[in-house]
């Protein structure tokens, strides 16, 4: 019987894998049509995308670099989502975190790296947490929609950064709208002489911590409960409002941390518009990863790979990077079709394929059903 169950599982796996491959193939095909319509050779483009995303050690590192901020913003969205909150504001929180982190990096007196870097990262977290906390407080105190407020604060953050880099944080003596370069003690070291920096590992560690926090701690349990049924959580005496505020802060903080990690790992100084929409992409990353911290790692890598592949393609063919937005969008849509729409058909197919196996296994299933009798 064990054998049969195992082979039933194998069948299910095979079907799943086949459909997944089919999905990807269809998405790529649709993308190819669009490319052809736009006058780019799809074959060459795909080759280049693959090379740019995973074709060499260098491009894999680049993919990891790109995945880093996406993972942070994805985690930010996921965390709030698990508490039933929609944080569309990772973009703004990311900027705020970058700003406060940069402030800590630039304005503190010289410190050894072991102190300075963690402090700056913490300040990045706090900046984002502040921005998220405003929304959380308005939600808890006034019942104001967090969707609107996070969107509004995204714009406010962008203008705030624009102000900061042109006035108070502007590089002394410089004329450009940018801060001075961050001191070496506040910069995330890079590895193997590439751009891959420790921020990536920090992001992975954050995802793991978050997974543990959500699933293994009492606080995570409170958060998930409130996310699944807020009213019941209130009735059962969970501190729902306090948690909503805290969750918005942590969610903002995660994005903020991502913001500082990005500038401490890559840019090394604060500029306006440094984020090409990491915050918004984070939503897709989070949801494609099932709002699950570990799932987010996978989807962040996928998105990171697409971005760096896109860049490679763009450089060689001269095709617009926007093509990759299109392919990305199609891929998301197809993958969701596969997950949601075809789910029933897949189940039916698996059931059909395993019917022979099931017949003999039925006794076991019934035994489990009647556990209590």
């Amino acid at each position: 019987m064990v054998n049969k169950e195992a082979s039933a599982k194998a069948v299910a796996w095979t079907v799943e894998a086949l459909f997944f491959a089919l999905t990807i193939a269809l998405a790529l095909l649709a993308g190819a049509l669009i490319m052809a319509a736009a006058g780019v050779s799809p074959w060459q483009a795909y080759q280049l995308i693959w090379q740019g995303a995973a074709g060499s050690a260098g491009s894999i590192k680049e993919t990891l670099v790109k995945a880093t901020p996406l993972l942070f913003t994805g985690l930010s969205y996921s965390f709030a989502y698990r508490c039933g909150l929609f944080n569309i504001g990772a973009e703004g929180q990311l900027y705020l975190g970058a700003m406060t982190g940069a402030m800590a990096a630039l304005l503190l007196p010289p410190l050894p790296m072991l102190v300075h870097l963690p402090l700056a990262l913490l300040c990045g977290f706090i900046g984002g947490a502040l921005w998220g906390g405003i929304v959380g407080a308005l939600k808890v105190g006034r019942g104001a929609s967090e969707i609107i407020n996070t969107i509004m604060l995204n714009y406010a953050a962008i203008y705030l950064i624009s102000y900061v880099v042109t006035s108070p944080l502007k590089e002394a003596g410089g004329s450009l709208p940018q801060s001075a370069a961050l001191p070496a003690s506040a910069i995330l070291p890079q590895l193997f002489g590439s751009r891959l920096h420790y921020g990536f590992f920090l992001a992975i560690a954050t995802a793991i911590v978050l997974y543990w926090l959500l699933n293994r701690t009492t606080w995570g349990y409170e958060i998930r409960s409130a996310g699944l049924n807020r009213r019941a959580a209130e009735v059962m005496g969970f501190p729902v409002k306090r948690n909503m505020l805290l969750v918005m802060m942590v969610s903002g903080g995660l994005a903020g941390l991502g913001g500082y990690v990005e500038i401490a790992g890559i840019q090394h100084r604060l500029m306006q518009n440094f984020s090409p929409g990491f915050g918004y992409d984070g939503i897709a990353v989070a949801l494609l990863g099932g709002a699950h911290p570990i799932g987010n790692i996978g989807s962040a890598l996928l998105f990171g790979g697409m971005r760096s592949g896109a860049n490679a393609m763009q450089r060689v063919t001269g095709a617009s990077t926007s093509l990759v937005y299109v392919i990305q969008a199609i891929m998301i849509m197809m993958m969701l079709c596969n997950r949601y729409w075809l789910g029933g058909y897949k189940k039916a197919l698996v059931a059909r394929l395993t019917r022979g196996l099931r017949k003999t296994g039925a006794a076991g299933a019934n035994a489990r059903l009647n556990l209590t009798e």
């Binding site: 780019v40 670099v65 709208p177 990005e262 440094f274 090409p276 860049n311 450089r315």
Partner: protein, 312 residues
């Protein structure tokens, strides 16, 4: 018409000299990025180089692009905007045989990083002069997009030029905070026109045409920036003050081809022929000779160095 596939390798390559351009925004923005694109085309056509460009390069991607082009054996890599300075200097160390050019910046690094910038203050000064002289209400307006040096310098120069030409002129200045949002540029211009301005200058890349559209709709005048914008609105755009990055770029690339390039920062202005007035087109007949003379005098003063100013 070109397609998005801008791999412009067709008519080039005999010389084997390869030039890559990176722009921060879309190259069809009729503004900052379009200028660089035109420069690249000029390099391709006049110098016979093989060219390639990447647009909308975000800050997190710059390093990757620059390194990619350098690895692919490009001889010159041009980063269009000060934001390319840091990554250029970082990558340049690993590719001593490649030249790295940054525009709108004043950085250099031996042996292979140089920068060119246009004296946007002078550009603004000329625009301000023309605007003030054309104004009947005594109020002129300058609208900027985002706060980046080419824009802020030109807005600043505009104010100085206008004041110098007509001492009691009132200059209204506003920033829209966006180089994408045409609607905002247009509404901002309308609000300034309604505050009394009758000549408007908008320097906000692709969104800039919103300002001209507003002036056209309200029957006011506009000064074009960066390239000749008269054809879009012949009865509105008096003239445009051109910052000739294309020329500057091709001159520099030529000197690299000739092996005469030095790693230094250059600023080019009216004197160097990189900033100049576009033709008046239809306004030639409508403008008083006295006005034209005054403008010409200002140009002259900038050319011979009696009037000097620097970018901030």
């Amino acid at each position: 018409k070109e397609t998005a596939g801008g791999a412009s390798d067709n008519g080039a390559g005999e010389s084997g000299f390869k030039v890559a351009l990176l722009t921060p925004g879309p190259v069809n923005d009729s503004g900052w990025n379009a200028i660089a694109y035109n420069g690249l085309m000029k390099i391709k056509d006049e110098l016979g180089a093989k060219t390639q460009y990447s647009e909308k390069v975000t800050q997190s991607d710059m390093n990757e692009f620059i390194r990619g082009y350098a690895t692919d054996g490009y001889n010159v890599i041009i980063g269009h905007g000060f934001e390319f300075a840091d990554p250029m200097m970082a990558v340049a160390k690993d590719f001593p045989d490649t030249w790295f050019l940054v525009t709108s910046a004043s950085v250099s690094q031996s042996p292979n990083v140089a920068s060119i910038s246009i004296n946007n203050r002078e550009q603004g000064y000329l625009m301000g002069t023309v605007a003030a002289l054309m104004s009947e209400t005594g109020t002129v307006a300058a609208i900027g997009g985002t706060e980046i040096p080419p824009i802020t310098n030109s807005v600043k120069g505009f104010e100085e030029g206008a004041k110098a030409a007509v001492p009691d002129i009132e200059v209204l200045t506003t920033m829209t905070g966006s180089n994408d949002d045409i609607a905002k540029a247009k509404e901002t211009a309308i609000s300034l026109i309604e505050k009394g301005a009758d000549v408007v200058m908008t320097n906000a890349n692709q969104a800039g045409s919103g300002g001209i559209e507003a002036a056209k709709q309200k029957g006011m005048l506009a000064i074009g920036s960066n390239q000749d914008q008269n054809p879009n609105a012949p009865d509105t755009v008096v003239t445009s003050v051109i910052q000739d990055y294309p020329k500057a770029m091709s001159v520099v690339v030529k000197s690299i081809m000739d092996g005469a390039m030095k790693p230094e920062a250059q600023t080019l202005g009216v004197k160097e022929g990189a900033v100049y007035l576009a033709p008046y087109h239809g306004f030639d007949a409508k403008m008083a000779q006295e006005v034209k003379d005054k403008i010409a005098a200002t140009v002259k003063a900038l050319e011979d160095g009696t009037l000097t100013m620097k970018n901030e």
